[in-house]
């Protein structure tokens, strides 16, 4: 049976205010709310869809982070076969370090290289490169990104991957496993896990803890962040304020000025 490993990581929730650390070189991780990286959730969903439609063993591997248990139990509740949480990590890993950790777990804990390794296509903090291609390099596998659909090849072995191109065009690729694929969006929106189902999973299923200690100092990072800052908002916009009615009135004038309200 096809074996699929999905790599899941948490990323700062950007709808929240992002604070810069005192060093001025990273975010202040204490103040952040974390959420699963959006395209990683789609990668989990795509793996579960493949399992349902064609049969597969799905292993979700995540880096330890606040709130990650919920994401892992959610995956288990939805049908993932195993959930692995990598522990003993520093905060603020570079993407290269994350790729290195994932690779070691795939080699060690999962044993044989899975047929498919799915990651989200990119994360908002992938500053030193994308994790999928980095893992592909370490494992000597091919990589294809921006994938929005996967199915078994109708006329032979392997898989067909659907990749998004500009302007709504899509391209089909034959993929001979093993391969690393960067998932942009699953064919269906990631399924919602009702709280009761989540709680049941937390009681009956187990997250496997796998310690992968890293040196306390970053492993020879190839890039250096000199400075990080919030982008100044409203550089260009004229901000409208007042009551909702006042704002609506002002906007009406703007629309009328554009000849969009035919009087």
């Amino acid at each position: 049976m096809m074996k699929i490993a999905v790599l899941l990581k948490m990323a700062p929730d950007v709808v929240e205010e992002l604070e810069i650390a005192a060093s001025g070189k990273s975010l202040d991780f204490k103040s952040l709310r974390m959420a699963p990286n959006e395209s990683d959730e789609h990668a989990v969903e795509e793996a579960l869809l493949l399992k349902e439609r064609f049969g597969a063993k799905v292993i979700v591997v995540a880096l330890e982070a606040p709130e990650v248990d919920e994401a892992l139990f959610g995956a288990l509740a939805n049908g993932a076969d195993r959930a692995i949480k990598i522990t003993g990590l520093r905060e603020n890993l570079t993407t290269a370090e994350e790729a290195d950790v994932f690779t070691r777990v795939v080699r060690g804990e999962i044993g044989a290289i899975p047929d498919l390794i799915l990651t989200g296509v990119q994360a908002i903090d992938d500053l030193d490169g994308l994790i999928g291609p980095l893992i592909a390099c370490e494992l000597g596998l091919p990589f294809l990104g921006v994938v929005v659909g996967l199915s078994p090849c109708p006329d032979g072995a392997g898989m067909v991957a659907l990749k998004e191109c500009p302007g709504g065009v899509r391209a089909e690729f034959d993929v001979t496993p093993p391969a690393v694929l960067g998932i942009q969006a699953a064919e269906r929106p990631p399924r919602y896990v009702p709280l009761a189902k989540l709680q049941a999973a937390a009681h009956t299923k187990k997250i496997e803890l796998v310690p992968v200690p890293l040196p306390t100092d970053p492993v020879n990072p190839l890039i250096e962040v000199l400075r990080m800052r919030r982008r100044a908002p409203a550089a260009r916009a004229e901000m409208l304020s007042g009551s909702v009615e006042e704002i609506a009135g002002r906007l009406c004038e703007v629309l009328a000025g554009q000849d969009l309200i035919e009087e």
Binding site: P12, V14, L18, I20, H42, I124, D125, L127, D128, G129, L130, G132, A136, C137, P142, F143, G145, V146, E164, C165, P166, G167, G168, V169, R170, E172, F173, D174, A185, R188, P189, P221, L222, I223, E224, L226, R227, M228, R229, R231, P233, A234, A235, R236, A237, E238, L240, V244, A248, G249, L251, C252, V254, L255, A256, Q258, L260, I261, E262, E263
Partner: protein, 331 residues
């Protein structure tokens, strides 16, 4: 180490992508700052003719082979890697597009080179390369420098420079580079699927009411539809709205969707991630409504409202209808 600046000249289906000219303009600035050559690297099949449009570069390195007809990410990376290892430019600028995504990181991983992703600009400071990157959905800017002397792979966002600055009438010299791509790679192109025609052509609308995740539910989209009817426009969306199947792909604006230039673009509950902004920033007038005063969409908007789109929409639609009636009554 040649110290030169290289640009991956992205072409797709026989055309040079606009972002190529933008990055050529950035590359030109960098090469002039450092007093080195700018080389464009063009990969494809039967693309020799396209090299003539790359005159902003001092020369074009052409890798032309029938097996490179379509952009298969690992195949392109495989043919670029030995060239890069052999010539060691100071930097290789790679577009962050659906077509080229992954090529830069594959090269960096393969050759153990520093990669800097999400760059919007770059300079030399004390002869060291320094990149300005936009992270975290457009909210954070970082100054980053590659370490060591190896080739830096820079992933470049759209609009690093105006594309016009990267055009030139000059004919560049072309150096053909032999390549022998794997004839049976693990990932092989099959075919393209063109998008089904949408119910509306977004690119022909004068006014677009764009909805994002901030609209919360599919039911709420009716509020946007009502405003669109009022101003004679159509509803379009950011990616999460389409991924949730609230609207079809033909309504998506941005990197993977359409590029639009309406007279008016009304962005409701859209954060303004770079992938969305690249599809709408050329609109004549942009109005953004967002509950988050820090939302990056306010960086591209002409008018901004910090507030709840769901609350504003019905009031605004009523005001528009009222104004129409008043106008109609008077005239």
């Amino acid at each position: 180490m040649s110290g030169d600046i290289w640009v991956l000249a992205e072409q797709w289906r026989g055309r040079i992508s606009e972002i190529t000219y933008e990055i050529l303009a950035l590359g030109r600035d960098l090469a002039d700052e450092a007093g080195v050559r700018l080389e464009a690297v063009l990969v494809g099949s039967h693309v020799r003719g396209l090299a003539d449009t790359l005159g902003t570069a001092d020369s074009v390195l052409l890798i032309d082979h029938p097996l490179l007809a379509e952009p298969v990410t690992p195949t392109y990376a495989d043919v670029l890697a030995p060239l890069l290892a052999d010539r060691s430019p100071a930097a290789f600028l790679v577009p962050l597009t659906n077509i080229s995504l992954g090529i830069g990181t594959l090269l960096a991983g393969e050759l153990r080179l520093p990669a800097v992703n999400f760059c919007r600009d770059a300079h030399f400071v004390d002869r060291r390369l320094r990149a300005t990157c936009v992270l975290y959905g457009g909210k954070i800017e970082a100054e980053v420098t590659p370490r060591g002397g190896a080739t830096a792979i820079l992933g470049i966002w759209p609009h690093a420079r105006p594309p016009e600055k990267g055009h030139s009438k000059r004919l560049p010299g072309v150096e053909e580079i032999a390549a022998s791509p794997d004839a049976a790679p693990a990932i092989r192109f099959r075919r393209y699927i063109n998008p089904p025609a949408g119910d509306v052509d977004l690119t022909k609308q004068e006014a677009l009411v764009a909805v994002g995740r901030g609209m919360r539910s599919k039911e709420n989209l009716e509020l946007a539809e009502a405003l669109a009817r009022g101003i004679g426009g159509a509803v379009c969306a950011s990616r999460p709205v389409v991924d949730q199947h609230w609207l079809p792909l033909s309504r998506q604006v941005g990197k993977s969707g359409l590029t639009v230039k309406p007279k008016l673009y009304f962005a409701l509950g859209i954060s303004g991630a770079p992938e969305h902004v690249e599809g709408m920033r050329k609109s004549d007038c942009i109005i953004a409504v967002n509950t988050d005063p820090q939302a990056p969409i306010f960086n591209v908007a002409n008018y901004g409202v910090v507030g709840d789109a769901l609350e504003l929409l019905p009031v605004l639609t009523r005001a528009v209808e009222g104004r129409k009636r008043a106008g109609g009554g008077a005239g």
